[in-house]
């Protein structure tokens, strides 16, 4: 199976890169790992955190998409090869690449994230999605983990040349204003699969 695995790297900047995999890695929603401790028990995340010299700070796995954030200045092409190896090894292994999200201890993490999720979902329903709908777009709230919001864009937003402007100048700015407890936002969209982007890049 893993011999034909196709992985496409999409660096967002030197600190963050998406890896689109031709096979699903995790069917149970989104898993976000913010430390090697959190990754324990999930072979893929463990392997990515263990990449020498990368100083990985975050791994997010959703369906066939892996988002990796790192602190080191090592270029993605170097780190990316190791991430690719980790992905292939995880798919070739006999156990799930990542485990399901464990229940959080009472009073920590999960309850606060659940409350944030509700507020962010309300904001998306009442303001964000009506706005992007004008361009045929849709923004799906996937999860909130450790106050980090994960979204997936669809319709006219998926593959749109201005999707990052919508994310940063639109959605993130609204979150800062209305839900200031949110620490960050991560786009886990596979923009290469967008078949009807509202603004298609047209210049070389």
């Amino acid at each position: 199976m893993s011999a034909d695995v196709r992985i496409t790297a999409e660096p967002i900047d030197n600190g963050r890169c998406k890896f689109l995999v031709s096979e699903p890695l995790h069917a149970g929603g989104v898993r976000r790992f913010a430390s090697p401790d959190e990754a324990r028990g999930s072979p893929l995340a463990e392997a990515i955190f263990a990449i020498p010299g990368a100083d990985v700070s975050e791994v997010i796995v959703s369906g066939n998409l892996v988002t990796v954030a790192k602190r080191s200045p090592a270029p993605w092409p170097v780190v990316g090869k190791a991430v690719g190896q980790a992905i292939r090894a995880a798919l070739a292994g006999g156990q799930p690449a990542v485990t399901s999200k464990p229940a959080a201890p009472a009073g920590r993490g999960s309850a606060a994230d659940d409350a944030l999720y509700e507020r962010v979902a309300d904001l998306f329903d009442s303001q964000v999605n009506p706005m992007v709908a004008r361009h045929g777009g849709r923004v799906e709230l996937i999860d909130v983990q450790d106050a980090v919001v994960m979204v997936r864009m669809a319709g006219g937003c998926q593959g749109c040349g201005m999707a990052d402007v919508t994310l940063r100048q639109g959605i993130e700015a609204m979150l800062h204003q209305h839900v200031p407890e949110v620490k960050g936002i991560v786009d886990i969209t596979d923009h290469t699969a967008g078949s009807n982007p509202y603004f298609a890049a047209a210049k070389k």
Binding site: D13, H135, G161, T166, G170, A173, P180
Partner: protein, 419 residues
């Protein structure tokens, strides 16, 4: 949240650009307070009026007035453009707001191939013979009066769109009619520049101009011959393998062009040919390299304490516009290259196979397919859009070029005939 004292960057992003992520994320990394301006409104503009504005990119004077109005409430400290058209708008805004940038006349001349040729000739630079014709001219009559081989060019289209070489009067007439049809589709200036074909090896110069002085950031070889009849680009590799003295001639040619055009501050991207008569400026644009190609450039230095400082081209451009320190303008030591994947033929794209195999080629870092299934593939000269990009890095330019070619050979484009 950003500090209130963060410098505000006005980033001019046309809605059709590929450059959005690279520039937006670079501005965020630098802690700039970002305002994105486009020619069409974002649906979030009312929700974030300081972060999103609509400017009239078609009318630089009007856009500058709009920017001045905006800046009254939200002072702007720098303006950055990403393409030829917004380069003129940025110049108008820079003049209106007293920001670092190019004079409007210089940016406009850089955008217009005929004005550019005139200014270079006036400045005494080596230029091929050239003449401007309106599309109302009789091509057969014009064809009898030009020398061959020659190149016909629309004045303002980018990515060599509509640029055609003609070796005979019959080819000239066919090319003239073909460009007329392209101009009809695009609504561009209805004139055609005809100039003598300049043989020789072509290179691309990526540079940064500061108070009129050009700093060459990278010199890219273009190892595939660009002899026409069309001029679709393929591979860029740096460092150049040309002799040091030739590279110096090319840099001097680019600097002389910057001076002749009157460019003052900002990025430039120039195409220069070199033959036994010296360096010839083919075209210089007051903007950075296009498409995703900036991914082939990385700048780095090591601080006194051993810490590594690394920057993208976009970070350097933004730092320059905002007057921030530039720790280095030295490109990384490794060779680097990009292939603009050639359009495999006319049709509708259905699938691209072999991406994984292409990525597995040693030294290849990334294969990016930017076209989506269902989108039309339009070959040059009518087209201007590549289906994707391949990036590679390695010890030598030869190795990088070989890796790009090997990766491309593994790609298979599945298409259907267009309706």
């Amino acid at each position: 949240m950003l500090r209130p004292s963060s410098p505000r960057l006005l980033l001019l992003l046309p809605t059709v650009t590929y450059r959005t992520v690279a520039f937006v994320e670079a501005a965020r990394r630098l802690g700039a307070d970002l305002t994105v301006a486009s020619e069409r409104p974002s649906t979030f503009e009312r929700a974030n009026p300081t972060g999103l504005v609509t400017l009239d990119f078609a009318d630089p004077t009007h856009a500058a007035a709009q920017a001045r109005e905006f800046a009254r409430a939200h002072p702007v400290h720098g303006v950055v453009a990403v393409d030829d058209d917004t380069g003129v708008v940025a110049a108008a805004i820079a003049e209106a707001l007293g920001l670092r940038g190019n004079p409007v006349a210089a940016a406009a001349a850089a955008r217009d191939k005929y004005q550019q040729r005139q200014l270079l000739a006036t400045a005494g630079l080596a230029v091929p013979r050239f003449e401007l014709f309106t599309i109302a001219a009789d091509p057969e009559k014009v064809a009898s009066g030009v020398s061959y081989p020659c190149v016909l060019k629309p004045l303002r289209l980018s990515a060599s769109r509509g640029v055609i070489r003609a070796d005979t009067p019959a080819e000239f007439v066919a090319a003239f009619e073909r460009i007329k049809r392209i101009l009809d589709q695009t609504g561009c200036a209805r004139s055609i520049l005809v100039e003598e074909f300049v043989p020789g090896r072509e290179v691309a110069v990526e540079g940064l101009v500061t108070q009129g002085a050009l700093q060459v950031l990278a010199l890219f070889d273009k190892p595939d011959p660009l002899d026409g009849p069309f001029f679709e680009e393929t591979i860029y590799v740096t460092p150049s393998r040309l002799a040091r003295t030739v590279q110096q001639e090319i840099a001097a040619c680019a600097q002389a062009t910057v001076h002749a055009l009157g460019l003052r501050d900002g990025p430039i991207h120039a195409e220069v040919r070199h033959n036994d008569r010296g360096a010839w400026l083919i075209e210089l644009a007051a903007r950075p390299i296009g498409g995703r190609c900036s991914g082939a450039l990385r700048f780095e230095s090591r601080g006194a304490a051993g810490q590594m400082w690394e920057a993208s081209l976009e970070e350097i451009i933004i730092r320059h516009a905002l007057g921030m320190a530039l720790p280095t303008l030295e490109r990384e030591r490794r060779a680097s290259g990009v292939m603009m994947i050639p359009v495999p033929g006319a049709g509708v794209l259905r699938d691209v196979r072999g991406v994984g195999a292409a990525q597995a080629v040693p030294l290849v870092e990334e294969v990016v397919i930017t076209m989506h299934s269902g989108q039309p593939l339009v070959p040059w000269p009518e087209g201007s859009r590549y289906p994707g990009f391949i990036f590679a890095r390695g010890g030598t330019s030869e190795a990088v070029e070989a890796a790009l070619r090997a990766a491309h050979a593994r790609l298979e484009f599945l298409t259907e005939p267009a309706d």
